[in-house]
């Protein structure tokens, strides 16, 4: 199926908006649709964009204070009382600080609590490594019973928020602080567990999650000049992974590059490596944070420094294609 991309996606003046803004709108809309939805925040209400919900439904908003362990466990208890709780903080603190509480009282306990980790990735910027959460995907992905999402832009974040509000499952959604390009449209599809081919190609599969998908689109455009025809697959659901869509693309291209603003160990790249290792061993290049922490800097500076911008990615993909053979041709 054809995925409707923002027509301006390859222009320099493509519209920008923080992914978290979409969450804020989605939560308010979800709250209008379902009165069981409640929101809990650990002293970061505006920053995580929960203020829209709080203003609309003051009686269903709970201020927890700087207490992330309490944030998710109070939410677990509210879920037992029939509510659908959304919890928010910075990803470094939730799920960074409170992993065991999420494990025991939400996933093992099977409570439909939504853990929203804002300010994930190195694009947090000047706050530095302590606040640049890079391990959240690994931490959440390993938990049985947990859905893990990293929407690619603010429009998709709004849809993803509406979707987890009604999925009846423990769910983690990662958001980012900085403004990022809007590559999807209101008409673009979103379903939990689905990956989407944004751009068809046959030389290499570029699979991205979160805002990195935009950088892959930019890279794919640049690779045209080198006569490399890249397929771009957007994977907003890291768990459950859309094996079918990813494998179908890989069978066609025989090479895979993943990109994420997170540790490749255990992260999205790790998930794809597991899938390919199990079902279709294929040369794989994982772009992301290579077993190291971030540091302070401007968001765009950091993305470029760690070679996660479209231009750097195009160079790395070209090198990868030059270096490794293509597998599965004709599968």
């Amino acid at each position: 199926m054809h995925y409707p991309l923002n027509p301006d996606v390859y222009n320099d003046d493509v519209a920008l908006e923080p992914i978290r803004a979409g969450f804020g709108r989605g939560l308010k809309a979800a709250g209008e649709a379902n009165e069981e939805i409640v929101a809990l925040c650990a002293d970061l209400t505006e920053s995580t964009q929960m203020h829209l919900f709080k203003e609309a439904f003051p009686n269903r908003f709970v201020e927890i204070g700087v207490a992330e362990q309490n944030l998710v466990t109070v939410a677990s208890g509210m879920a037992r009382a029939g509510k659908i709780p959304f919890t928010s903080s910075y990803a470094a603190f939730s799920p960074g600080r409170n992993w065991e509480q999420i494990r025991t009282t939400i996933t093992l306990n099977d409570m439909p609590v939504k853990v929203i980790g804002s300010h994930a990735g190195i694009s947090v910027g000047p706050d530095g490594a302590t606040h640049q959460m890079l391990e959240d995907i690994a931490l959440m992905r390993v938990l049985p019973n947990m859905v893990v999402l990293a929407p690619g832009d603010s429009i998709e974040a709004e849809k993803a928020t509406r979707a987890i509000a009604e999925n009846g499952k423990p769910s983690y959604m990662r958001l980012a602080r900085d403004k990022t390009a809007i590559f999807s449209t209101e008409e673009s599809p979103f379903e939990i567990g689905k990956a989407y081919v944004l751009r068809e190609g046959h030389d290499v599969t570029l699979a991205g999650t979160g805002a990195m998908t935009y950088q892959l689109l930019v890279a794919a455009k640049l690779l045209e000049k080198h006569h490399i025809n890249a397929e771009v697959v957007h994977v907003p659901t890291i768990k459950p992974l859309d094996d079918e869509t990813i494998l179908a693309s890989v069978r066609k291209t025989g090479r895979v590059v993943t990109a994420e603003e997170a540790q490749i160990i255990g992260g999205f790249g790790g998930a794809v490596a597991e899938l390919l290792g199990d079902q279709l061993p294929t040369p794989l290049l994982r772009l992301g944070m290579q077993d190291r922490f971030g540091e302070s800097g401007a968001p765009a500076e950091l993305i470029a420094h760690f070679k996660l911008d479209g231009k750097s990615i195009a160079e790395r993909v070209k090198q990868f294609i030059d270096d490794v053979p293509r597998y599965h041709q004709g599968f």
Binding site: N70, V74, T105, L108
Partner: protein, 286 residues
């Protein structure tokens, strides 16, 4: 309501529960002895007198709810639930066995009637507070009560004090907590491992109504719960002084019985002692 049993009958029931616990732990070959025995009177009072529940309909929408925060003491909860009719007493011997609904630490999804999953300490109080918050502020459901049991060693956990601050701020008056103040934890006495006193002062300073009782006096347990329900502007904590291993003299007060079960000989002796005690209960109250 199920307040038909007299105090004497409740005491006898708690003794039956203690015998169940000994048999369960011996059959399981692992588990905690001291805590469950020490809590038998409080949990019996909750399920047989204090709480408004229906064992035939564990998800009854008007029920009172019970959150066990120190999940390692769950054998006492299982035993009381079985005695109360949630499931057959025979099932108790499956404790900790493969395929059992009676997991070593309680899992809500396995056994109807459990309100939470716990074991890692410090989280049950927050879950209960979340439930109480929903009743008080969202559902306006004033006739339901949320009961919690926590350990005292468990109070070392930071999560507990986050919950204490939260419940105090929101004046969660439908939240009633029993602290099993038995003075032991795995590494020794609570005083040696991490002193908790001034415990009353700590809770008062967090905005809680505090009572202290003898946790083996069932009448006191029932009265304290009643007083707690009458306090309309604060959460309530009932510091319940208990004897770890209560009812089995060679286990009483000894922290070494915190995390081990009785062997066959010890179980036989423990059951003998409990049966002897049972005779005394009948005698005293006639």
């Amino acid at each position: 309501m199920s307040g038909q049993l007299t105090i004497t009958q409740l005491e006898k029931k708690a003794n039956d529960v203690r015998q169940d616990i000994i048999r369960m732990l011996e059959a399981a070959g692992s588990g905690h002895s001291a805590g469950p025995l020490g809590l038998a009177d409080i949990i019996t009072a909750l399920y047989f007198n204090i709480m408004n529940i229906d064992p035939a309909n564990p998800e009854w929408a008007d029920r009172d709810v019970f959150f066990l925060s120190n999940g390692h003491t769950v054998p006492v909860q299982y035993a009381v639930m079985a005695e109360r009719g949630y499931f057959d007493v025979d099932e108790l011997k499956t404790l900790r066995k493969l395929g059992s609904r009676l997991q070593g630490h309680p899992e809500r999804t396995k056994l109807p009637g459990l309100e939470n999953t716990s074991g890692p300490l410090g989280s049950g109080l927050s879950q209960a507070a979340g439930y109480a918050y929903s009743l008080q502020y969202i559902d306006d459901s004033k006739h339901r009560w949320v009961y919690v049991v926590t350990g005292d060693g468990e109070l070392d956990e930071g999560n507990i004090w986050e919950a204490a601050m939260f419940a105090g701020k929101y004046k969660l008056s439908q939240l009633i907590v029993f602290i099993d103040r038995n003075n032991i934890q795995i590494d020794g006495s609570t005083d040696d491992v991490m002193p908790l006193e001034n415990l009353r002062g700590k809770w008062e300073s967090f905005g809680w109504h505090v009572q202290e009782i003898d946790g083996h006096n069932i009448e006191s347990v029932i009265d304290a719960a009643s007083m707690a329900r009458a306090i309309s502007n604060k959460p309530s904590v009932i510091i319940s002084h208990t004897i770890p291993g209560k009812g089995v003299d060679f286990m009483e007060y000894d922290y070494k019985w915190h995390g081990v079960p009785p062997n066959k000989e010890q179980a036989k002796e423990a059951l003998h002692k409990l049966r002897t005690l049972n005779g005394k209960i009948t005698g005293e109250h006639q």
